[in-house]
Amino acid sequence: MEFLRPTTWDDALAARAAHPGALPIQGGTDVMVELNFDVRRPAALLDLTGVAELRGWDADGDAIRIGAGVPYARIIAELGGRLPGLAQAARTVGSPQIRNRGTVGGNLGAASPAGDSHPPLLASGATVEAESAARGVREIPVGEFYTGPKRSALEPDELIRAIRVPTAPGPQYFAKIGTRNAMVIAVCSFAVALDPARRRAGTGIGSAGPTPLRAREAEDFLAAHLDWDGGGPLDDVVARKFGDLVAGAASPIDDVRGTAAYRGHALGVLARRTLGWAWREHTGQTRREAS
């Protein structure tokens, strides 16, 4: 197996173009497991950890542009205030060691429906900055990025350079079901993001369909039925209907981690609860930090 180790972004793109069979690797928390267990046998590995351009994040207008090589640990430590949904999701990834290595860029590259960062990216309307040596940069709305189980809209000569996530315009919450209390892959997960100024709510569903999903009908329902100006408590009927719509938007299956019926049920509960927390925060109560 060839091991390609570019140190600049241009070299990385050139290597990608020259070796379409090369598998990009960042933290290696997914790729190395697959190699060790002989699940994948790529012709080459394209190690992106030496590319300095990927290792930082910066504020870019109303968004944060996160380099594809920024590990979860830094998102938690440095972006919890501006991207609370993504930071909460990052906090649920693996163990401290995994969070020191793993990246949102890698999570997108793997495009597993169970990836923890996908729901908050969907809920907050993030875009993926993909680039190729031949055609330059293109912005892919994250809702169009996932095309199937472990498949994405990336072309064979493209690499993920960065993820652009709008700075949270309102409360955001992420919740994930697992059958133990840490270091667990999602049985299902859910993210909600409120944008009170635009009277919109975003959603993201994980591990309950062939790809990460948005619950568009549920989003429209909230846009129409939340008392955006009133500031009163959340109407329980609205919360329950929202839960039902989220559950209805998913297409879960029975597998070794859980049943479809349980996933549907749990998504309804998570949707209702996360909306409740977001609404309480919006209406003036203190938001709670994931600790």
């Binding site: 649920t92 079901i177 059958t179 349980y262 709670r288």
Partner: protein, 766 residues
């Protein structure tokens, strides 16, 4: 040949701790800093890598097998099949019925079919893909209860059928049923738990000049390994030299052979050292698991809750080969109703052969499965009689002098009633501080901020046999050498006992210091240059190898004092802190002076009291060496809308007879409790049509630090006069009682019946 790199050597036991102290472990710092050499770290110049081709099918006939393409792969030195097994084609812990390599049929998914030795593990792995096996896939037998109902119809191998049926008959159950004022029934199920040790199966085989083989393996019982390996290699046992390599956990899963014969075959064939090291996935197929169980219980009692009878059927699924299933059935039957007095009993314990994953020894060994059922029944009976869980247990608790189900009289303390009183009196934890998500079900995955969370409390009691049972003489042997090195008396302790993490290596030094009054102790690597130590299982090594070290030290001390008596002409001598002391004259010589250049070495075997087999019809007999009790109280917070669980606290009272090393002991109780927690709420090998669906730590979940709560421990010491130092084996009992305590607490919180473990979120919300 020279020893391999990372082979174990002698270690000096740190500290000066005697029996009852908690000196540091000799291997403690190395393990914490990552420097400890496990079997997977073994290396030798010129060695080859072995790999195993395993059956993808739970049951299939092998029509043909072509190793040609694999053998032609550059870098491959040998490809072996059953035809290359030099001697006996089958082996087994208790009954040789497991093929070294499949002959004409595979009977479980993962059964070894062929072996490869190559220059590099990757070449070996590629070569496995080039072995062409033509399988005729057969319908697997997967329903153990169907096998028990019709053993002739569902025979997966020559032996059957049913591995063992052990009845227990006491009194007249039918008459008691007619008289009972309260009758409760229940059906319970236990899923397959895995030992999930962190160091996968590994070892190194080195061909020796005498035609034999030197093996460095992480195992639990060196001598039994060699007894099984020798006939398969067609070698006399003395030409197999086995040294314990660093063990990364065992829990019963290393009691059966894994790669031992395979690596030896490859080494003998190629004339080169051969290393084998399973990866995590292969490990799930490379060792036996805990038997899954289906259990039907009926209890009758007076309305005051006094037990009148039990009618019990327990079915255990052992998979295709015998392994230790016979003894697991013996435990499940003899301990099937726990530490409670029943005047009338009808128990039927069965083990079945199927094509499900192979099952054998795991911490708790048959007693775990029954404990979940009988403790669930005690709670059911308590509810029916209007009693609390503690009251019903207290009312029926055994004590010294009580009869077990087998008729065996408990002839040492069995302080269950006072243990329950102490447990109930322990303070309860406060309500959860919900400002920290880690205190809530779901943890930082943030599934609740307190919504839907309900607290529950439950109790569990367990009784476990210590040492081997049913007439087996599981002796241990120790060689102890006392010599003056650089003017300082030094003890060398040599046994074949496996240090699997339990701390025996520490305890051996403590015993030597206690008995010989010497600080400096060195521990020799475990190997078969010294006599049999028996298995590191059944919570027996403190008792048995502890007993052997004590006996050998006593013999050394006797010789030391005899020499000192000859030198000083005094008969009132003892040894203390490296000095020979006369009662009348005080210090008369140093130990080093008495030793001079002439070391003292003694080897002793230690045997426990004989036990008897169980009567095959009535199940009566004094079958157990020693019995040990542990009681748990679990406090849980359950998110009743999502079915997620936070175990808030586990409190335990355990009788250990005598605390030998409090730190090691607490570690054992914590670890056993955690393993019981795993069985209660997450650990299961999920099987469909005989195939494992979750052979990885992604989907076979074991508790993390956020799942295992702090423990409140109360360790009591009621000495057993039959055991060395009065000690009672301690490693397994907490594994039994924590599971039913947690499930009882989940029932208390949710009102659900919860008759199967592990309890899954679906069961709590359904």
């Amino acid at each position: 040949m020279a020893a391999p790199v990372k082979a174990p050597g002698r270690v000096d036991a740190p500290g000066r701790g005697r029996v009852g102290d908690s000196p540091p472990r000799p291997d403690g710092t190395l393990k914490v800093t990552g420097e400890f050499a496990y079997a997977s770290d073994l290396w030798m110049s010129g060695m080859l890598w072995g790999a195993t081709l395993r059956s993808p099918h739970p049951r299939a006939r092998i029509r043909s097998l072509d190793v040609g393409p694999a053998l032609a792969t550059p870098g491959v030195h040998a490809v072996l099949t059953h035809e290359d097994v030099p001697g006996a084609k089958v082996f087994g812990l208790d009954l040789p019925d497991q093929p070294v390599l499949a002959v004409d049929e595979v009977r479980y998914q993962g059964e070894p079919v062929a072996l490869v030795a190559a220059d590099h593990p990757e070449i070996a792995r590629r070569a496995l893909d080039r072995i062409v096996v033509d399988y005729e896939v057969l319908e697997p037998v997967t329903d153990a209860r169907a096998v028990v109902a019709d053993p002739e119809r569902y025979r997966v191998q020559e032996n059957g059928g049913i591995v063992r049926h052990q009845p227990v008959r006491v009194g007249d159950v039918d008459r008691a049923r007619a008289e009972a004022e309260v009758v409760v029934t229940g059906e319970y199920e236990v899923g397959i738990q895995d030992q999930a040790f962190l160091g996968p199966e590994a070892g190194l085989a080195v061909p020796a000049d005498d035609g034999g083989v030197d093996l460095y393996v992480s195992t639990q019982w060196i001598h039994r390994d060699v007894e099984q390996i020798a006939p398969c290699l067609d070698l006399p046992a003395e030409r197999i030299r086995m040294t314990m390599a660093g063990v990364g956990g065992a829990f019963g899963g290393r009691e059966d052979l894994s790669m031992q014969i395979h690596a030896a075959m490859l080494a003998l064939r190629t004339g080169r050292p051969v290393k084998m090291s399973y990866n995590r996935r292969e490990s799930f197929f490379g060792h036996v698991h805990r038997h899954p169980a289906w259990m039907r219980y009926e209890y009758g009692a007076t309305k005051e809750g006094r037990l009148l009878y039990a009618d019990v059927q327990i079915v255990l699924d052992g998979g295709a080969y015998t392994s230790s299933s016979m003894n697991v059935v013996g435990n499940a039957a003899s301990l099937g109703v726990g530490p409670y007095e029943f005047p009338n009993l009808r128990i039927d314990g069965y083990g079945a052969y199927t094509n499900n994953p192979p099952c054998g020894a795991m911490r708790g060994f048959g007693a775990v499965q029954a404990c979940f059922a009988y403790e669930s029944m005690m709670d059911r009976l308590a509810a029916a009689c209007g009693l609390t869980p503690v009251q019903i247990r207290h009312r029926n608790a055994v004590t010294q002098g009580s009869r077990l189900a087998t008729g065996q009289i408990i002839d040492s303390p069995a302080p269950l009633a006072p243990m329950l009183e102490r447990l109930e009196a322990m303070p309860l934890p406060p309500v959860a501080d919900t400002s920290d998500l880690r205190n809530l079900p779901g943890g930082v995955a943030q599934t609740t901020h307190g919504e839907g969370v309900v607290r529950g409390i439950g109790y569990g009691v367990g009784i476990k046999n210590i040492c081997f049972s049913e007439g087996f003489d599981d002796l241990s042997t120790a060689r102890v050498r006392l010599e003056a090195i650089g003017g300082e008396p030094t003890v060398l302790v040599h046994t074949a006992a496996a240090e699997v993490g339990q701390g025996l290596v520490t305890l051996k030094a403590q015993i030597a210091r206690t008995e010989l009054g010497v600080d400096r102790v060195t521990i020799a690597p475990a190997d078969n240059a010294v006599g049999n130590a028996g298995s590191s299982s059944a919570s027996r090594q403190s008792y048995m190898t502890g007993g052997a070290v004590k006996a050998a030290c006593e013999a050394v001390r006797a010789e030391l004092l005899a020499r000192a008596a000859r030198r000083t002409g005094r008969g009132d001598l003892s040894v203390r802190n490296g000095v020979i002391v006369s009662r009348a004259a005080g210090e008369v010589a140093t130990v080093a002076e008495i030793l001079g250049d002439d070391p003292i070495e003694e080897t002793r075997e230690y045997h426990h009291r004989p036990t008897t087999p169980l009567d095959p019809v009535t199940g009566q007999g004094s079958s157990h060496t020693q019995l040990a009790l542990c009681v748990h109280r679990a406090v849980v917070d359950v998110d009743v809308e999502l079915g997620l669980v936070k175990v808030v606290e586990l409190a335990a009272v355990q009788d250990v007879g005598r605390i030998m090393n409090r730190q090691s002991l607490e570690g054992q109780i914590h670890g056993g409790t955690a393993q019981g927690l795993g069985l209660a709420v997450m650990e299961e090998i999920v099987v469909a049509d005989g195939a494992i669906r979750n052979p990885s730590f992604t989907d076979y979940l074991i508790p993390t630090i956020l799942d295992m709560p702090p423990m409140r421990l109360d360790i009591v010491e009621y000495p057993d006069p039959h055991a060395p130092y009065g000690l009672r084996g301690a490693g397994e009992p907490p594994t039994l009682s924590s599971t039913p305590a947690i499930v009882a607490a989940l029932r208390d919180a949710t009102g659900k019946a919860l008759t199967r473990v592990p309890v899954r979120p679906e069961h709590l919300v359904g």
